[in-house]
């Protein structure tokens, strides 16, 4: 060491830094080790197994909504957790679609030149953002949906649906054997439209001829599947819900828990998305719009070609984090008993007592989603970065 030249020797500060890091590592490892020792002692005392062997044991509890086959007597804990996970994904994806639609509407309304509209939208945002989500979920569930009439007083809705405090019952489509052709036609239509659009865009770049693909798109996406539908002999029927004495038979239903969660998540997240959208549109410098007008673009084209692409650059990252928030917030389902991942995991935890494993599984799922999304966001940020000279 003493042979090294002066400039390569570590200074006192560097040695202190290394010592600090070693100390931190020792503390962290020590804490984890201590926790593990205590946990195994405490678990042994309480006679609780450890490890993931419970995954294949029979669950033995009911789940009120399952997207995959599930029965309490034969399905395993592992299956139960998958059911919960799918329920989380269901409510999150529905919520994201609805909240995006509502959020963009409110966000644009906030920028409206009509003062009444912009103030109403502003009032909505302020009101919804400043009231806790859990309170809103409880409100929709306990105060609104639970106070709907009971089975006997079910409200009959047009189209053969019923609404009561046990949920919304509506006709379930029954697909015939030939329905695959219709779905196939739809897929082909969409693919052909995408290709047509790409071709039209290229032609526009080459010749300046504007793309007029709307009629063709309508034909491919709507008319083609409808024609195939009738050609295949209309392979679709509905199972209508029918009032029986103690329940409703047939049809399919939306649980009030799902509905309350969905409504609350949509309304809450939409307020945040509205702010994101507003900030994004305001972030586009007014000179951009003026320059577009100076080039003779119409207001629709200005919006579509100049404002929206630049606004999206600002909007997308915070929008994704709102989507993540919505997904994480869907775990509040546990308060009203919607069987999402956290709620099902809670049941598994109560039965097996294996807190560490169950919570680890739950966290791993949310972490996976969050980290994947932020990875994608970084890639997106890299792709859309402004390339400066």
């Amino acid at each position: 060491m003493s042979n090294r030249p002066q400039y390569l020797r570590r200074t006192r500060q560097q040695w202190i830094n290394i010592a600090l890091q070693v100390l931190l590592a020792i503390i962290v490892v020590g804490l984890i080790y201590g926790a593990a020792v205590n946990a195994s002692n405490n678990l042994a005392k309480a006679n609780i197994a450890s490890g993931f062997r419970f995954w294949n044991n029979t669950a033995g509890f009911d789940i009120s909504q399952a997207l995959i086959d599930y029965s309490s007597s034969t399905s395993t804990f592992g299956r139960a957790i998958w059911v919960g996970l799918l329920n989380t994904l269901l409510v999150a994806s529905l919520g994201i679609v609805l909240a995006t639609a509502l959020g963009f509407t409110i966000g644009i309304a906030r920028l409206s030149r009509n003062r009444l509209v912009s103030h109403l939208a502003g009032g909505y945002v302020e009101l919804v953002r400043n009231v806790p989500l859990l309170l809103q979920i409880l409100f929709w569930y306990n105060a609104v949906l639970k106070s709907l009439p009971d089975l006997r007083g079910s409200i009959a809705l047009p189209g053969g649906a019923y609404l009561n405090n046990r949920g919304l019952f509506f006709p379930q489509p029954q697909f015939g054997t030939n329905f695959g052709y219709v779905a196939g036609a739809l897929v082909i239509g969409v693919l052909a439209t995408v290709m047509l659009h790409i071709w039209a865009r290229r032609r526009q770049d080459r010749t300046g001829e504007p793309p007029r693909t709307l009629t063709y798109a309508f034909g491919l996406i709507v008319v083609l599947p409808v024609l195939v539908f009738f050609a295949a002999g209309a392979p679709l029927s509905f199972s209508f819900p029918e009032m029986a004495r103690f329940n409703i038979r047939g049809g399919t239903e939306i649980l009030p828990e799902l509905a309350a969660l969905l409504v609350a998540l949509t309304i809450y997240t939409a307020a945040f998305i509205a702010e994101v959208v507003r900030a994004g549109i305001l972030a586009v410098a007014p000179g951009q719009t003026e320059a577009a007008q100076a080039l003779g673009l119409r207001s629709g084209a200005t919006l579509r070609l100049i404002v929206v692409p630049q606004a999206m650059r600002v909007i997308v990252p915070p929008l994704t984090s709102q989507y993540l928030n919505l997904t994480k917030n869907s775990s509040l389902a546990v308060a009203i008993g919607y069987p999402d991942l956290v709620q099902v995991a809670g049941s598994v935890l109560n039965i097996t007592g294996q807190a560490v494993e169950v919570i680890a599984i739950t966290m791993a799922f949310y972490l996976f989603i969050s980290l994947t999304t932020s990875l994608l966001m970084n890639l997106y940020g890299y792709r859309i970065r402004i390339v400066e000279r």
Partner: protein, 381 residues
Amino acid sequence: MAAADRVYLRDAPAKLLPAPVASTGVLGWMRTNLFSSPGNIALTLICVGLVVWIVPSLLRFFIFDAVWSGANREACLPTELQPEPGACWAFVRVWLSYFVYGFYPASERWRVDLFFVLLALGIGWLAWLGAPRRDLGAVYFFIMLPILSFVLLSGVPMLGLADVPTSLWGGILVTIVVATVGIVASLPLGILLALGRRSDMPAVRLFSVAFIEFVRGVPLITVLFMASVMLPLFVPDRFSPDKLMRALIGVALFASAYMAEVVRGGLVSIPRGQYEAAQALALPYWRMMMLVILPQALRVTLPNIVNTFIGLFKDTTLVFIVGIFDFLRTIEAARGDPHWATPVTSVTGYAFAAVFYFVCCYGMSRYARNVEARLARAHRR
């Protein structure tokens, strides 16, 4: 030349043009802002319809037809005189002390009141940017206040303050305690984590990044579950913290990860010249941070800190799910009281809670916006 030949001269005054459409005054404002185009007129009409449809019925329910006093559910049930009674504020009045203090013993409630006053003092001291000696305020808020409140609320028999176990605490008291502990713990922890994330020591950086990303990647509920179910497993039996304490630890850890990101934003926004100038003055790391960087960074991020705190304040409701009697939980409990079982009890309870949270959060967000505007002005000079 005769005058009649000069045809380009008018012999009669031109016809008067109509006055231009007013663009000022009430009518002008309405014309430009509400009725500028057919689409706008339609929008305006829809909105007016919406307002006319909703506002009177809300007013009717919450004020005009509301029941303001009564001893039990009889007062709020539909009668022949009043087939559709409004909100049952009598219910809130009867349960109000429960909503504020939970089961805190009635004879000791002055301690809670005193805690509220001390807290308000601390918040006022820190929030008023022109207050004298705000550094002392910070010492008071982050060091003295936690000790004082702990002594006051949970009691020290030696000082003549009877023990009050946390299982008796409830209502707004618990909500405020959770929120206060959250901010008092998360700001210092968050600053440390933010500095750690920007440190050039790899082990420190790795630890900070891992902690922040882990906590931000999972829902608060799972952190609370972890704190309330796993924490007792991780410590020897006799040190097992009580229920409220566990939730407080969970909230504090959760909030500090979010605070760290906010503080980091502030640190990033400080121009590099400030760091270099401090180093040129040969300030060691901590003095550079304490004297030069952090005072500027925290000032810039104050609005974001307040916004994070608003989120934290709303998130305190989640301790409800791990069985702690916060304000929302007391509403839920009172709502189920059979003496007050009426069709409007739930709505009234939730409306009361919503007003409480709204007033607190909206107040804070207005404050954040004012600070932001003030900072922007200072920046522009």
